[in-house]
């Protein structure tokens, strides 16, 4: 099956899925899952270099082509999507619009695959918009705030997209082609730095908007936070990676080191790349600090996505072999971790109907498997060995230190430490601590929902021990892009990842961890177990475990005494009065609204007199200009 046939039939199938789901949404969801499985096998069977025509636009061929990068990104995406599809088979019964969800999820899959396959800028744009459109229509299926979220998501995504489009056609105008590799070739020989930089930044802005890099990151909080719970997993785990892909295309497929060789900025990195790195670093700071503050667990992880998008951007932006591989590997790690975390949250919300950390607690006893999935996912997300998340971060640090970018490296370290803080907050607030009484009948979710989580966790763990299956395609990708193709980083023969300041042997590390774990477990079994005490005596009807704090006094605001309220109060106080970028963007939106009000009030609402005035004035101005 040709690539174009595949995508088009996927789009058509999505509409069929809608009608099937109208009859029975479960059948639709199962069909979706089967199609997903098929896609994964399809993707693994494809050979690189397969191309296929989509049609022509204005004499320009629209083409799809299958490269190592397409394979890598498609495989990661499908892993996330298929697990969510499996998850949805059960989870959808809590949703209002299951049929539309199924349809748009499949449509979005088609769009994403198309983006990764696109050989030229317009094809990329077409599938990009399909993915955005369909995901944008899933977002408002959530609770009330999600409607606004959809609008903000659409506008922010569109602002990046349209800048990209402008850049694409700027490139077309200058180089006469839309083909990405052609453009890359011509850009190297183009003498005009200004236009090249403009094209570069305009193209990158789509990725910036999509992957939630600093100036356009605010939609993540509201969209991820309010989208239907399982879909947040796709949003954060997969859709955001479309942005990373576009960033990778602009930075690596267009050989930015060679294109901008005449504007080096710092240790061989051109100013344009450095600008992106600076944005990435800002995102790490903003994402980390904001994530620490959140009480809503989904918004918390949304901000963590901002920070991790920053890591990816920094890694790719350095164009160092180590950094590039680290960044691309981080795509994989973050996709899996974020997907598992959001699915775990979706399971929690599925059972408890709340996503406020301060209203939850102690679910470890009720939902142990979900807890386990969450635990491993955050270990990966925070970058602790032996999970795979560590490896990518380690590679990025290696690159940063080698390039001598100490400020960026420091920010990256800071983000890493910050991530310990914020991932611990839901852990403590949701799974540990006291179980509120109203959740005493909560059960573990059904296997259909926890199996996908566990699969992803296991994959992540395996890759943490033996990362070479993922590193190999990345290495061939790197060779495609010509980033120091001589340098070999992964060395499966010696079980080593070779960094410049030392090597990493994941198997060894895993064994050490395993030994440590076994010792800890032995110690744990040797000492007597703690005893559980019911602390709910006087306030049974509220069901809130608060009496431990009170000395016989009645408490009027029990939620303030929940230990999870203001979890990091001291730390948060340090940056309480931080400037809010969201407010700035809000002001911008308000400015347009006010402008509209003004235009309406001055030109459209008034009496015929005013019309006559404007008509006369216009004639006069035209006359004055032309006479």
């Amino acid at each position: 099956m040709a690539l174009s046939t595949l995508l088009i039939s996927l789009l058509v199938t999505s509409v069929i899925i809608y009608f099937v789901s109208k009859a029975s949404w479960r059948v639709g969801a199962i069909l979706n899952f089967l199609i997903g499985i098929f896609l994964i096998s399809y993707v693994f069977a494809l050979h690189t270099g397969t191309t296929s025509d989509l049609g022509t636009l204005f004499g320009q061929k629209l083409q799809l082509t299958w490269t190592n990068a397409s394979f890598y990104f498609s495989a990661v995406s499908l892993m996330v999507i298929v697990s969510v599809m499996l998850f949805a088979i059960k989870w959808l019964d809590s949703q209002k619009y299951p049929a539309a969800f199924n349809m748009f999820l499949l449509m979005m899959t088609a769009g994403s695959l198309g983006v990764f396959m696109a050989a030229d800028l317009v094809t990329l744009y077409i599938f990009w918009e399909i993915a955005v459109l369909s995901s944008m229509l899933i977002v408002p299926m959530g609770k009330k705030e999600s409607r606004k979220a959809a609008v903000i998501y659409a506008v922010m995504s569109a602002s990046g997209t349209y800048m990209y489009l402008y850049g694409a056609f700027l490139a077309f105008q200058r180089y006469g082609t839309l083909n990405i590799s052609e453009i890359a070739k011509q850009m190297v020989s183009d003498p005009s730095t200004g236009i090249k930089a403009a094209i570069f930044l305009l193209l990158a802005s789509a990725g910036i908007a999509k992957s939630g890099i600093f100036p356009l990151h605010t939609w993540l909080r509201i969209a991820h936070g309010n989208a239907p719970d399982a879909f947040s997993a796709v949003l954060s785990g997969q859709l955001v990676k479309l942005g990373s892909y576009v960033l990778m295309v602009t930075v690596a497929v267009i050989p930015s080191l060679r294109v901008f060789a005449n504007i080096p900025f710092y240790s061989g990195i051109p100013a344009t790349n450095y600008f992106l790195i600076a944005l990435g670093a800002t995102s790490i700071i903003v994402g980390t600090l904001m994530a620490i503050k959140q009480d809503d667990m989904k918004m918390l992880i949304a901000f963590s996505s901002v920070a991790n998008g920053g890591y990816i951007l920094i890694g790719i932006g350095t164009m160092d072999p180590m950094g590039f591989e680290g960044g691309v590997l981080h795509v994989f790690n973050h996709a899996l971790a974020a997907a598992v975390i959001f699915m775990a949250f979706a399971s929690v919300v599925y059972r408890t109907h709340t996503k406020k950390i301060s209203e939850l607690g102690g679910l470890i006893h009720k939902m142990p498997i979900t807890f386990l999935a969450y635990l491993f996912a955050i270990i990966s997300l925070a970058g602790i060995p032996p999970m795979s998340g560590f490896i990518s971060k380690w590679m990025i640090y290696q690159a940063l230190v080698r390039k001598g970018m100490f400020i960026t490296a420091f920010i990256a370290f800071f983000g890493s430490i910050g991530s310990f803080l914020y991932v611990f907050r839901p852990l403590a607030g949701v799974f540990l601590g006291q179980l509120p009484k109203k959740y005493k009948d909560v059960k573990e979710v059904s296997p259909v929902m926890w199996i996908p989580m566990m699969i992803l966790v296991v994959i992540s763990l395996i890759i943490g021990i033996w990362p070479f299956p993922v590193l190999q395609p990345i290495e061939s990708m790197r060779a495609d892009f010509g980033i120091a193709p001589m340098v070999k980083i992964s060395d499966p023969d010696h079980w080593l990842i070779r960094g410049f300041a030392g090597n990493w042997n994941p198997v060894l590390v895993f064994n050490l961890f395993l030994i440590g774990f076994i010792i800890a477990y032995i110690l744990y079994t040797m000492f007597p177990r703690s005893k559980k005490v019911d602390l709910l005596a006087p306030h049974k009807e509220e069901g809130t475990p608060i009496n431990i704090y009170t000395g016989g006094e009645y408490i009027y605001t029990p939620e303030l005494y929940h230990y999870n309220t203001k979890f990091y109060a001291g730390f948060e106080r340090m940056y309480e009065k931080h400037p809010s970028w969201e407010k700035v963007l809000g002001m911008l939106a308000k400015f347009f609204h006010d402008l509209g009000e003004w235009v309406h009030g001055w030109f459209f609402r008034p009496s015929p007199s005013a019309y006559a005035f404007w008509v006369s004035l216009t004639i006069l101005i035209v006359f004055w200009v032309r006479w």
């Binding site: 005035f613 006369s616 004035l617 004639i619 006069l620 006359f623 006479w627």
Partner: protein
């Protein structure tokens, strides 16, 4: 302040139009031979070679007698009428349509609910003099449009005069109410008739609104082919139409 702005802008507009005036020939100093109307006056459009004419070769005929002669492409002595109803008859069809559209519009805008007379006691003199004048006025109106191709006037003024008669009836007679069915069907049939004249022209002469009747001697009553007929239909149509409009606005609705 508003007035000041208005005066400024108005003055600017006047200045602009004065500036534009410089681009056209001064008042009274027009050379008709540059314009198409020279051939309307000479009634020799059919004999002009248009492709040469547009490129500057003006084929103005020499002085010749028109009045009382036969055999011109258009037979009306009044050249304005010949333009209105023959050379640019399509404009006139449009014009009739404008009036028709506005009559329909007035009907739709004002129509709908039950009607009631607008009462104002007419005085005696008005009523008596109306009785005497009415036939004369209507006759005058008919005269105007029947002689449209000979003398100044035509369908529109004629129709208006008839409408004035109806207005007079309204003012003089409290009980009077225009029979809407009659006026509407007159209006509709006359309008259709105009289009049908055009269609007959299309069938006979191969062109819409073609003058399919023979032209007589310039200056006689039955001379200008379809022109008098068309003017008659226009006159009746405009008369009934405007009467309808007057009646429509005049009659008051309740509730």
């Amino acid at each position: 302040m508003r007035r000041l702005y208005a005066i400024l802008v108005g003055a600017g507009l006047v200045y602009m139009l004065f500036a534009f005036l410089g681009t056209i020939s001064p008042y009274g100093n027009v050379n008709l031979s540059d314009r198409v109307s020279a051939h309307f006056l000479a009634k020799d459009v059919n004999s002009v070679d248009a492709s040469k004419w547009v490129s500057g070769d003006k084929q103005i005929p020499s002085k010749m007698k028109v009045f009382g002669k036969k055999g011109f492409e258009d037979g009306s002595a009044n050249v304005v009428t010949s333009i209105v109803v023959n050379y640019r008859s399509f404009d006139t069809l449009g014009e009739v349509t404008v009036l028709f559209a506005s009559a329909v519009g007035v009907g739709l805008i004002l129509g709908g609910t039950r009607r009631m007379r607008y009462g104002r006691k007419p005085n005696f003199i008005l009523r008596v003099s109306t009785g005497i004048l009415l036939p004369l006025i209507i006759l005058f109106g008919v005269y105007i449009f029947v002689h449209g191709h000979l003398t100044p006037g035509g369908g529109f003024p004629g129709g208006t005069v008839i409408a004035a008669a109806v207005l007079l009836l309204y003012l003089s007679n409290e009980e009077f109410s225009l029979n809407m069915v009659v006026s509407k069907s007159l209006e509709g049939s006359m309008g259709s008739l105009y289009v049908i004249f055009g269609l007959i022209g299309l069938a006979v002469g191969g062109a819409f609104l073609f003058n399919f009747l023979p032209n007589g001697v310039v200056g006689s009553l039955f001379s200008a082919g379809v022109v008098p007929l068309v003017y008659m239909t226009i006159g009746l149509k405009v008369g009934s139409e405007l009467s309808g409009v007057v009646a429509e606005i005049h009659e008051e609705r309740e509730g």
